[in-house]
Symmetry: D3
Subunit: 258 residues, 6 copies
């Protein structure tokens, strides 16, 4: 028997057995989006997938295939659509993907689902997709479907953040392609990190509004790194990862009675 927490690496009888036994399913949501000159476009796929795989091992769960194309990048949180390599889908499209995948998971017996978002701009479209799915699931007569939805970064603990950012945490929106994501990539895919290319044109100095077309003086670092990535280390990544895995696993156990 294949030993894997990846749902798609199982055969259908293996999948069926795990679900029948009550295994929770984790669904990672990613994107293909610029992450500065030192990180690959797949950061938002690698990170939630890696987080989910570790959690799945903790809680006896399965990880569904990561949604690789995310909702449209915004200048103030991801640099924006004008960056080469950012390949987004509309929010409506993204929500329909979630609606369909979640509806089918429920149809196939999954009753404990955790949607783990790894791309800021997916937040609301994932709420919409989940809501559409839940409505259909209820109409299909399934009454015991429970689901959690979260952004993995919200599980970093205060002490960890204070240790990583001795000068103060700049806020999660500006962390795009910055110290946290770079450190986590050093844990999961160091072969794709080019620390020698870490730029120094940040942090961003955005005004508190969107403006289109994006003006030249909008405060957006040309590199696409919104805060700073200097100082990223594997150790910092491991500390964050430990927070995510520990605390998301605990929440899953609590909510699903595992």
């Amino acid at each position: 028997m294949v030993d894997s927490v990846r749902l798609d690496e199982l055969s259908w009888p293996e999948f069926a057995a795990k679900i029948a036994a009550g295994a929770p399913v984790l669904l990672p949501l990613g994107s293909t989006e610029q992450h500065g000159p030192h990180l690959p476009l797949n950061v938002d796929v690698v990170l939630p997938t890696g987080v989910c795989e570790r959690i799945a091992r903790e809680v006896g769960g399965l990880v569904a295939p990561t949604v690789a194309y995310g909702c449209k990048s915004m200048p103030r949180s991801g640099g924006g659509e004008q960056f080469p390599g950012t390949l987004s889908v509309d929010a409506h499209t993204f929500a329909l993907v979630l609606r369909d995948v979640i509806r089918n998971l429920a149809r196939q017996g999954v009753r404990r689902l955790v949607v783990v978002n790894g791309h800021y701009e997916n937040l609301w479209p994932s709420v919409e997709g989940l809501d559409l799915a839940r409505r259909e699931i209820a109409r299909d007569g399934i009454t015991d479907f429970t689901v959690m939805r979260l952004e993995y970064w919200d599980f970093a603990q205060r002490a960890t953040l204070e240790s990583i950012f001795p000068a103060g945490f700049p806020g999660i929106e500006l962390e795009h392609a910055s110290l946290m994501e770079t450190s986590l990539m050093l844990v999961l895919r160091p072969d794709l990190v080019e620390m020698d290319k870490v730029p120094s044109d940040g942090p961003a100095t955005f005004p508190p509004y969107d403006r289109f077309p994006v003006p030249d003086d909008f405060g957006l670092p040309p590199s696409g790194v919104l805060a700073v990535a200097t100082g990223s280390t594997t150790e910092k990544g491991e500390a964050l990862m430990a927070d995510y895995v520990t605390h998301i696993s605990a929440a899953i156990r609590k909510e699903f009675g595992l």
Copy 2:
């Protein structure tokens, strides 16, 4: 610099440089679908991705992230939605994903695209998605966007098929989870193939129509293997792969003048 044919393993400046130099982009279309008791659910992701990566090396191209959730499985070509682990999206959803991704590829300068389908039921939704994208691309004033769309299995050569199927090729629809896909998986992900679980309840004996609900006597093997997988070997997989890579690469060179 990261050395990869995977578009999403590049940073945005690396992506931009490749596209500016005219690199064709290959977009693999997969699915998460039952493939019998001896193969994982990700066969339709692994195969087109593997084919595309080899072609990309041949033609200097890039492989975009594979669309991992495909269009709804049908009993006569994939066993159908009732199999555990088959996680499909609606054709409309699938088409919108393609529309959005292709539109954004064009917006970012890609002028040579190859859509490589690896899941039978994606055929028509990919036609629709491509048509919607081309319409929008033209309205956005881009006039030199060229695109190919293909099912990779159509490039198996007659001699190869005759050699693999000495008793005659049963047709591509019944090849689901059968000899060709199993042999190709032995090439690409042998760790996920469990040859000792190859079933013997096929081949399917479908009537020439769909019927819903699917009746008990519809001729569908309970294993989900529509033809037979016995006799699958790495050598057969390599022979098929060679056909795909050689002839799709040749077609790409011809159409794009590479």
Copy 3:
């Protein structure tokens, strides 16, 4: 009382009585599409309608109005959208039409439906439309709705094809506007067939992929006749029609217990 197998030629009480008595309904799917210089644009409407009317007489069924605008024509199976007179709708539009019509048939008591497709490119959109309808029908609490979906040409028997194509059957995709469709039109609407205009620029020599824009050397006969229509006769049409009517009727009787 009006004596007709056409559902729309009945009054509502006549329709109600037939449905209450368990009459199956046949829904033909057509298109308005180029069929060479010797055939009218309505071939894909005339043929499935004619087939359905004959079957309806055999099985005591009713024929619903034919959907006259089909899904977008592709170069390799229908010549493509660039031909004058090809008036297609998007796959999504087509699927919604089917969803709505089928949902309303079920709402009105129809429990035995046969969707009979006569235009190749309608295949997948009709699958989608039927799936959407079945989902809604189930949510509306109807649990005994059964449906068949088929392409009528799949019921030609091997012996008939061998007799009509002594040199071997070129395959159904290339039969567009060719010998089979021309012969069937000679049976159903000989007044619309101009045998003196049968072209000789085929057969098509397509590569195994789509390419857009369609290049000059794509192997597409300028006439739009993908194989050859020479030699079409009423007798060949009658032989095919006999196969369709006999074998589809038999399948309907089997599936619906008539």
Copy 4:
């Protein structure tokens, strides 16, 4: 050469030649809907199609295939969806069909279009579909597309109505399945009219509002004939038809400069 005003009875070169010569295209919009016990379900298909064919002969135009499934029937104008045989589509679906067909007509060179509605409830969805199509046509760079949209019954002249309704015209909404439609069917398809089944439970006595579910005392005649059909004659039908053909033809000539 086939001599027909029906667009779909022409071959593609014949269609192309007519359009290149500036022929206007008429697009009839129908429905499949109850029309009382004495008329078939296809009244709203037969009437606008017949009107259009006559007009086409007057103005040198072509008649596109009639849209056979119309927008949802309302109790106060068509009896409502609860009548057996009424097979409607949603307004959104109907509008998309029109959008697609009209866009494709324009793409193929049609510059003079007349949308001729024959089912009351199609009025607004046809406005929407036409608007969506015109928006897309403009974005596709076509600037000289002109279109008329009309309900054919609005061209009955006052003198004709006074002659047919000596006691006063009850208004077009209540004319459903009543004297005008019955008389016109006697002109176009007398074989489908069963005058001996004309009911006498009308006219309807609706309140000035919709109410759902439709209450028992809503004033809806059980027969579905909203006014009265008694007294319908071929002569009255001919008089109305003459009005429609004469005055719509004149309007077309005026607007299109023919």
Copy 5:
């Protein structure tokens, strides 16, 4: 406790108490649309809102927030989209708004709803939205939801119209920005009426069809006032308002058994 018939001026416990007690909810549908040089763009919001508030006081009901953006204005009934200030949404958009709002009203316990339309072109989209909502509500297991849908102007009594239009009522379509609407605005928002700017370029002399682009000789008064507004008075507005309130309230009491 806030004393208001406006649903949105209550707190949630106040709303809950009213609904639990069976209060009917009135949902006014408006538009933002040109109404001549003497009236503001919000006429179609002010009038149905004002009518609903008066009715709510009569029947113990609540008025939901008015939908302020209506369906696209047509030349023959509202002057058309080319007028400055006309800000419409597509029919599909409008229908979805209604679907969602009505579904949520039902979900929250509302069982008696009155949709009160104040913009002619909203008529059919409101039918569609209501139908979509009712379908979903039924699938959500709610079986006792009742709803009325009306155009408020249909409740003007014959005697009132004869008194206001001694020369004969020109018909409701041409009443756009004319005597009835102006008189009603004098009742509800006299501060927004500029009687000195009432134009004299009407009435419109439309042909019985739509034509796009709108030609110069279409009979559309440049002012956008389709009939005449001269002679508008508060008294006439009060007479109309009395009709609306009296007769709509009576209908609500009858249908809902209040």
Copy 6:
């Protein structure tokens, strides 16, 4: 001439003159949503509308009708859909409303638009709607359309927040129906504030994830007030309002060169 900053209180010639003179348009986005037992359901309509009207006077702008039905309320930011009186629309619906309204504003000559959001859950759907509109506007050939999009509360200055929250600002998400919104309502609609009903069951103690169905121990105060409203005063509201008006006006002047 009517003296109003409300776009919909102008006649069309007045609107046309203002737009031709370059007036920016402000579009407030609201919701109908529970705001505790002491505030009405229309808080999210009243506040952005009031803010916009004040800004419009500062910058010579016009305020378009507020969108009164917002996107679905979430437990952690608005209490959630289960509260009576919360009447939301789907994100897709909301985005289409914005797409249509903004497209029409641009079509009518508006080149300077400010979208002012007053309901947290509208954030992403408004991004989507604006993106869809901008795409269409560009395809319609309009190249000089500029737009800002903002949440008004992001313009509260640090000093003001420190003064209002001496114990530290709890964060904007928890401010739902709390001190800031209550104080602002005391400025704009004191007649709708019932200070004696301010609850004391907050603040919320949410976990860092969504969970559906919402469990009993989710930390949601039964009153729907997520933080605390005690201590709300008109003075605090005026201080916040001054921040919003001053700093949003300044941003508008900067971006639009006014």
